[in-house]
């Protein structure tokens, strides 16, 4: 029964994305407004300032791995990396990417290579600009302050999976006077980042980066489907509570 509910939910969710995507592709379709997420609204300015002042942008994919629960958060980080690198790649000091997993690092290298290729600047691509900073979560967290201080970073973006060690990155950012945009798929880390990061990403904001930055119809459709699913599931939870309260459920 649980499997059937899961299958129906996934098919329904996928259909919602497809429907909103098709609606967005119609001729004359007006782009929908998005709710404010300060972190993503301020990101272009942070990247622009770093490029103009000859500093780097640091993008961290967190300590998540590919092939486990944290895969989605890492892929979301790769999407933001693609957008940020498109702006910052051809500056004097191209962006630097850190991960704690070899597979995530390879995907980050591939993303960067693609960005340089699109901009006809493949010769400027340096594979070591995407690197594994530490292999364990705590080792990774401990390595990030060094990256911020040694690589002349002006802004740091953490989008991925990271535990409470994210506070080390946010603290290092504060001490180095670096703007920190950070979000993790771990609720404990979100609480920590709320207190420490300049621009924290709370809840599912982490997965909204692509929609906010590139505004592609498919990503906007995905975000809209997410919002609808949340309303539907929230409604079902309230209905369940009412039915249980008034003993209408066995």
């Amino acid at each position: 029964m649980d499997q059937l509910i899961g299958l129906v939910t996934v098919i329904f969710f996928g259909s919602l994305i497809a429907i909103f995507w098709l609606l967005a592709l119609r001729k004359g379709a007006k782009p929908r407004g998005l709710r404010r997420i300060e972190a993503f609204e301020s990101l272009p300015a942070t990247v622009g300032a770093a490029v103009e002042t000859g500093h780097r942008i640091h993008i961290s994919l967190g300590s998540g791995t590919i092939g486990e629960v944290s895969t989605a958060a890492t892929i979301s980080g790769l999407g933001v990396l693609d957008q940020v690198a498109s702006v910052a790649a051809i500056s004097d000091r191209p962006p630097i990417v850190t991960a704690a997993d070899g597979a995530a690092m390879l995907l980050a290298q591939d993303t960067l290579r693609g960005v340089y290729h699109r901009q006809n600047a493949s010769e400027q691509y340096d594979p070591l600009s995407a690197q594994v900073a530490g292999i364990t979560p705590l080792g990774f967290g401990a390595a990030l302050p060094g990256v911020l201080s040694d690589e002349m970073v002006a802004g740091t973006v953490l989008i991925g999976s990271m535990g409470q060690e994210a506070v080390l990155l946010a603290e290092a950012g504060r001490r180095a006077d670096v703007t920190t945009v950070a979000g993790s798929d771990v609720p404990a880390a979100q609480a920590v980042l709320f207190a420490t990061a300049d621009q924290p990403l709370i809840g599912e904001d982490l997965f909204a980066g692509n929609a906010y930055i590139n505004r592609r119809p498919a990503h906007l459709a995905s975000l809209r489907a997410q919002d609808w699913m949340r309303i539907i599931i929230g409604g079902l939870i309230v209905l369940g509570v009412l039915l249980k309260t008034f003993q209408l459920l066995p």
Binding site: I17, G79, I135, E151, L168, A195, T196, G203, F207, A218
Partner: protein, 239 residues
Amino acid sequence: MKIRFGNVILTSIAIAAGLITLGGYFLPQLYGLRALLMQWVVILGAVAVCIGALSLGAVHLKKIFQRGRGWPYSLFVLLGLLIGLSAGLVPVLIPVFDSILSGTPPQAATIGLGNPYSQWVYRYLQSALGTAISGLIVFFLVFAGFRLLRRRSWRITSVVFIVVAIVSLIGMTPFFNLDIADLPVTSQYTLNAVRTWPWIWLSQVPAVAGARGLLLGIALGAIATGLRVLLAIDRPYGE
């Protein structure tokens, strides 16, 4: 738009693998195939760990040779990498050398979790350093809490954050575990209720509700990201 043949193949493989893995959760006929794919993921993951370690070494070697900022710290990183690698290789190499010297077939080596050298490195280096960093995190969090109000200029969310943190901390302090056994039963009941109610209510009602809300949003975001990869909207595996 120019479509490259290589990209079509990559996308097809990714979509097929994704569909089989997802389908394996719901359809028993796909369990075997899904398990096989998951085994491949584990093997590829192990290879990726090696590539990651090589990348870590390459970055720090480059820093040392170029005398980049903070290069002396890179020496310690490389030393740690070397110690960790050696601890894993020593039990494999010792029987090989023994067999070469004695001319007998090599004995079975203790590798993996049972490797005493790796256990030593884990216990006395990695675990000790990890504990030290965890201790630092507590101090950073306390200072971050104090700075929060100053930085966010008394936003309602910041005030709620601080109030909840203070109430939770007070609720967990030993001060509130006073010995009240000598008091009358009604006073014990009242005192117990007063001292524990805010903390229990906060941790069991709003905190759980908030955490579930966050997890629900994260789960929906993760599913949406997965579906975008399945629909080839997001292609993190190549241009």
